[in-house]
Amino acid sequence: MTPKNTDSMEKTKLPDRTDRRAFLLAGLGIATTAVVVMPSSPGNFAARPVERSLKEADFYRPHDRAG
């Protein structure tokens, strides 16, 4: 299942410490409020214009060569 992810376009931000604590508690098997299922965005990615990757793909061939 791919969860609904309308927050996917949110700016990267440091997670709220309360959320983080609730999440950790959930990890320990302690039920807390619904906040634990809210995704938190980890902090150290730069959201900025990023050059398109020039990484060559695997698994392709020229069209004129048989597969």
Partner: protein
Amino acid sequence: MTTVVCELCPRYCAIPDGGAGDCRIRVNLKGRLIATTFGRPSSVHIDPMEKKPLYHFFPGTPIFSLATAGCNLHCLNCQNWQLSQRGGEEMEEIYHAPPEMIVATARAERCQSIAYTYSEPIVYYEYVHATAQLAREAGLNNCLISAGYINERPLRQLCRVMDAANIDVKGFTEDFYRRICSATLAPVLRGLVVMREEGVWVEVTLLIIPGENDDPLQVRGLARWIHDEMGADTPLHLSRFHPHYRMQNLPPTPVDTLLRCRQMALDAGLHFVYVGNVIGNGGESTYCPHDGTLLIERFGLVIKENHLLAGGRCPVCGNPLPGVWT
């Protein structure tokens, strides 16, 4: 001008110079196929493992989750269409995150696992593979959350660095795949067998869409297929449809329908059938297949009680619960 053929997925897109594959993100640049979203995710979060959903793989632990734009399916009901049905350049946010940065951040955030998820990791294959390789060297687990629409050779290579997968089987007829997803079913089933052969822990999801794939032919059919080809211990997640994207005309799946489908799958011999996207439905906890003991009690994505002993053993009969626990 050199046209190339992408051999990653069953579409075998013939891509002219300057063009992109059906996934929008594999681009022909003067005869070289470029993975344009390599190191450029548009969605990065820490989720509970249960959200993937993986219920028999390190329950209750946080999993570092990422996705780039692009997908090789075009499901009418896509929940993540803003991410999946776009090319890399159309995203409002693109992060600079090469594989080593993903692994370092996952470790810094104390995540033992990384999920390649949300859109479709198959189409950003090279990024997944490179990151997963580094993650494995660092002692982290890798989880593929995918529709599994990929050719066998790349899949086998990917399986060597994957620990677990949740594969979203969309329906159980070719007609469903053609009409709703613009894809085909057979390669997905083949891929599931390949993953089992390669030793990846696999759980399967079927999103139940009312009137489209909730009939006995499909639900029982898939459950029997899983039972026969993957084994009765393969968890099946039946999850609730909500109207999204180009399928806003249907209501959310009635809970009764989900419970009826669950019973069909249990009757087909599967040991672990879960109902997802409905909180408190009675079909979200794990019971011992030998004696019925409640082993993991869940409420939504939260684990209320985990009674498993070391090694994932049942406290009553001592049998290990199928899955990966330590």
